[in-house]
């Protein structure tokens, strides 16, 4: 399992073996149920137990804007900001040739199909892939596919974080903000 080393796995095992049987059986059936019921939303590819997912089915969301993210957890992070009222598209990863992941392994075709729909035209696609090397490259890839379709393509800003201490990693952001400073 990702993020779980052998020692942690051993602790899980001991916990389940030493506890009452209901704990282990309850967990087992919860996993089985989740595996059977949770599937990608047929519209946005986010994980859901109802299809289409609540966001795609909602009458209160702006259907002209799609925010593209890598993983389901990124949707949860965007939702927490409460700043966003559009729809999502979950790529289920980023382009990573070293890991054998090309565009065909991602949900790119499904995204393009959504842009082309006549009945609910998309005006803007926000690229919110991760700010790392693969995420940036994936954003470039998508921008080159989307621009010819006449849709506005934007990328979430990378900037100096608000408040808090400027810790070590933020020095990099700050330094780059300084290098890339603009007339004001």
């Amino acid at each position: 399992m990702p993020g779980v080393g052998p020692k942690t796995a051993q602790r899980f095992a001991f916990f389940l073996l030493n506890g009452p049987p209901e704990t282990a059986l309850g967990l087992a059936s919860a996993i089985t149920e989740a595996r059977e019921r949770v599937r990608p939303c047929s519209v946005c590819q986010n994980l859901t137990d109802v299809d289409p997912c609540p966001v795609c089915a909602s009458a209160h969301r702006d259907r002209a804007v799609i925010c593209v993210v890598e993983e389901p957890k990124d949707v949860a992070a965007m939702e927490k900001t409460r700043e966003y009222r559009g729809l999502y598209h979950v790529l289920q990863g980023a382009i990573n040739p070293l890991a054998g992941v090309g565009p065909d392994e991602l949900r790119v075709r499904e995204l393009l199909a959504r842009i082309g729909q006549r009945e609910s035209p998309v005006h803007e696609v926000i690229l919110a892939t991760d700010p790392d090397v693969e995420g940036d490259a994936t954003a470039h890839y998508l921008a080159r596919l989307l621009r010819p379709l006449g849709v506005r393509v934007t990328r979430i800003a990378r900037g100096v974080p608000e408040g808090g201490d400027l810790d070590y990693v933020d020095q990099v952001t700050l330094g780059r903000a300084l290098v890339g400073r603009a007339d004001w």
């Binding site: 080393g5 040739p97 070293l98 490259a137 994936t138 080159r144 990693v169 780059r176």
Partner: protein
């Protein structure tokens, strides 16, 4: 910034690192001489300090080699500060390693997000006897010298070179995928914006650093050798025909973009990116000729020492903190006048860790603290009479 602020390690702790089961040792803020027979573990101490400064061992790229045999984890920890003897605050830096999770660094107990974030805290310059390959070998070693120096000066540089290398590895894999028809050629272009952005940052930093290092290295060479030869260093970016020597980030970015474009067909044929800062060189010249062919052994060793002293000066100027000097057994390689020149340069310039099999070579050094290294232990000795 206080230009005289010297970094000093107060204590070093090791667990299952190389030959050491457990070690806790306090050091002096000035010159620390580590002596003992060959194979006693002197170099391992310098290696541990260098690893905390650079995030990796200067001797091996295989972290598993650093674990004491029969074990699967190690830990290195230092407490250090700027002039800590004068009551200034100290910092704790720790690197731990485990077979499955690799290395992890903590600064005052806080986990750093990446190993590259270790750069810039404990500053160090490392000298080793096999540094002669810096002159004799290919450009990789000389690029590494620049990269380690600049990553310690600037978190931005550390991040830029890290991202550049990462994007480069992805582009090279894409080149190979295009050759085997697993990917379309259009996929190559998606790595270029980042290669150009981070590559241009790397080029700008390296060019200005070499320009500043040059007079420092030339002066250090004169003092060490008391000789008449002129030491020069030159930055040689691998950009093909459009070599640009100065300029801002935009100029470097344009050069780099052009170099990638020009070389695309060759890159596709070889499956490797042939232009860019990962192919740069730092030329070292004595009397205008390449030092690897011109110099005698003594001149070549002096040129390398001069480069290392220039690194120390540059780090001190840039960061306002004087870095540690980690000097591994270089005295035995030098003749008497050069040995004296080096001894003079090692005194009064911040904290130094020096290994030798023969401490008599260093009897004349004022204010040195001596430590005897034997089979996984380090024992402080009374000052020599």
């Amino acid at each position: 910034m206080n230009p005289s602020g010297a970094l000093a390690v107060q204590t070093l702790s090791l667990r299952d690192f190389r030959s050491y089961t457990r070690l806790e040792c306090a050091f002096a803020p000035g010159l620390n001489v580590l002596h003992g027979p060959n194979g006693a573990g002197k170099t391992n101490l310098l290696e541990a300090l260098a690893l905390l400064a650079l995030g990796r061992s200067p001797r091996t790229s295989r972290d598993a080699d650093l674990v004491r045999s029969g074990q699967s984890t190690f830990a290195i920890r230092v407490r250090f500060g700027v002039d800590p003897a004068a009551g200034q605050a100290t910092t704790t830096l720790e690197v731990t390693y485990g077979e499955h999770r690799g290395k992890r660094a903590r600064l005052d107990g806080q986990v750093l997000p990446r190993m590259v974030d270790v750069y810039g805290h404990l500053l160090a310059v490392y000298f080793a006897p096999d540094d002669l390959w810096l002159l004799k070998g290919g450009p990789a070693g000389r690029r590494q010298l620049l990269d380690r120096l600049l990553a310690q000066c600037s978190p931005l540089y550390a991040d830029s070179i890290f991202r550049y290398r990462h994007a480069l590895a992805q582009r090279n894999q894409t080149l190979r995928d295009v050759r085997t028809r697993r990917a379309g050629a259009s996929l190559l272009a998606i790595w270029e914006p980042q290669l150009v952005q981070y590559g241009a940052e790397v080029l700008r930093y390296r060019a200005s650093a070499v320009a500043e290092l040059e007079p420092l290295a030339a002066a250090a060479y004169h003092r060490l050798a008391a000789g008449a030869e002129e030491l020069q260093i030159r930055y040689r970016p691998a950009l093909g025909a459009g070599d640009g020597w100065t300029g801002d980030e935009t100029a470097w970015a344009d050069h780099l973009r052009e170099a990638f474009r020009e070389h695309l067909q060759a890159d596709l044929a070889t499956g490797m990116t042939g232009r860019g800062p990962h192919r740069d060189d730092l030329e070292v010249l004595l009397e205008g000729a390449p030092a690897r062919v011109y110099g005698s052994q003594g001149q070549q060793r002096t040129a390398i020492l001069a480069l290392k002293f220039a690194e120390r000066e540059y780090l001190a100027l840039r960061t306002g903190r004087r870095p540690l000097l980690l000097v591994d057994d270089v005295f035995s390689e030098l003749d008497e006048p050069r040995r004296r020149g080096l001894q003079e340069r090692l005194q009064g310039g911040g904290q130094v860790f020096l290994t030798t099999a023969d401490p008599r070579q260093l009897q004349g050094m004022v204010g040195a603290s001596f430590f005897r290294v034997l089979q996984g232990s380090v024992v402080p000795e009374e000052p020599h009479a």
